[in-house]
């Protein structure tokens, strides 16, 4: 909805380790060390090294979200970002997570860390 402005610093994501995947009906949360958390609401693509899976908050999506537990313990090695709000996280296990800002009406995801809330 809001995109991702260039001046928003996301360097804190580098090196963060996935410590938790919380699966809800309408939201998936990825918890990292250092109290960093990404909550997704609209759409993300998860590449498990062989297949790309698409999660949206719709029936049956929890099974797709469940596949992302393979990210537990992996760390973010690099990231790619775009002003349209797309954020691609590349993990140490060669898996990828691409989160999209795919809604014009509602926030697509948010990133929180101590003292900051970034809403996209």
């Amino acid at each position: 909805m809001y995109g991702l402005r260039k001046d928003i610093d996301l360097s804190f994501l580098n090196g963060r380790q996935v410590e938790q995947v919380a699966i809800g009906v309408y939201q998936i949360q990825f918890g990292f060390d250092e109290d960093v958390r990404i909550s997704t609401y609209m759409q993300f693509d998860y590449f498990d090294g062989r297949v790309e899976w698409i999660w949206k908050p719709e029936p049956g999506a929890a099974q797709i979200a469940a596949r992302t537990v393979a990210l537990l313990g992996a760390t973010i090695e690099s990231l790619q970002r775009h002003e349209d709000g797309t954020l691609k996280l590349i993990f140490s296990n060669r898996q990828h997570l691409t989160i999209f800002d795919s809604s014009q009406e509602y926030e697509s995801y948010d990133i929180t860390l101590p003292g900051r809330t970034i809403v996209v």
Binding site: L4, I8, Q29, D35, E105, P114, I118, V119
Partner: protein, 244 residues
């Protein structure tokens, strides 16, 4: 998920403003009344519907599902609720005075949305006549004491407060909450002092071209909830408009 005892406690805490909250609940109920309150199992191949014994055309039904049209019964209920709200605010001007914080908050959220946080100019230009009236009512009532401003955002009272949006939706900011701007131009986050993440936070989103100012309430799991039910829901269900 909120348990019934907690919800009961919240109702008790909200009690003075319960009539205001009923307005939001009524809107939620109407949104679900299309296809007999069971949109997952019921379908509407013809676009027609029957609500409160009325069966107008498909356009009316579509409008009803979106909250634009209402039955005579719903009109009567809404007018009764609104009359109760007006009466309640007349008897309890302190809640109307709290609208001053809401007006300041809305102005700040809009200024942040416009990328002009702190300038005040953008926010001032978007204050509606109703918000101006609320500000004047607040000033007249002696609620004009200066608020602490941190990072351009007015802080809620330390003991907490109930604020009422221009459309009658009430939001309770609990005791011990602080306010901070959300990055990406998306309004204000109210959260327990010292906390991080979305858990137990309340976020007021700035408006955009198609959406008004909205509020989202998150529970301890960090998931947004539908205010009228306390359950998680879709984005459309968990975003409550604060302005018309």
């Amino acid at each position: 998920m909120l348990t019934e005892p907690i919800k009961s406690q919240m109702r008790a805490e909200f009690d003075p403003a319960i009539h205001l909250l009923q307005l939001a609940a009524e809107r939620e109920r109407r949104h679900g009344s299309y296809v007999q309150n069971n949109p997952l199992k019921s379908t509407d191949p013809t676009g027609h519907c029957t609500v409160d014994g009325e069966a107008p055309g498909w356009l009316w039904c579509k409008g009803h599902s979106l909250g634009f049209t209402e039955t005579k019964k719903e009109t009567a209920a809404r007018e009764k609720n609104e009359a109760e709200v007006r009466e309640f605010l007349r008897e309890h001007p302190e809640y109307l005075r709290n609208a001053m914080l809401m007006a300041v908050t809305l102005g700040t959220a809009m200024a942040i949305e416009a990328g002009g946080m702190g300038s005040g100019a953008d926010g001032d230009s978007t204050v509606t006549p109703e918000e101006n009236a609320a500000i004047e009512a607040g000033a007249a009532g002696g609620a004009g004491a200066a608020r602490t401003i941190i990072n351009g955002v007015p802080q809620p009272a330390a003991e907490g407060e109930i604020v009422v949006g221009p459309n009658g939706t009430a939001v309770r900011i609990p005791a011990g909450y602080v306010a901070a701007p959300a990055e990406s131009g998306s309004g204000i986050v109210y959260r327990p002092a010292g906390s991080t993440g979305d858990a137990n936070s309340i976020r007021i989103m700035g408006p955009n071209a198609t959406q008004p100012v909205r509020v989202i309430i998150y529970i301890s799991s960090g998931q947004p909830i539908v205010p009228s039910s306390g359950r998680t829901g879709t984005a459309a269900e968990t975003h409550t408009p604060l302005t018309r």
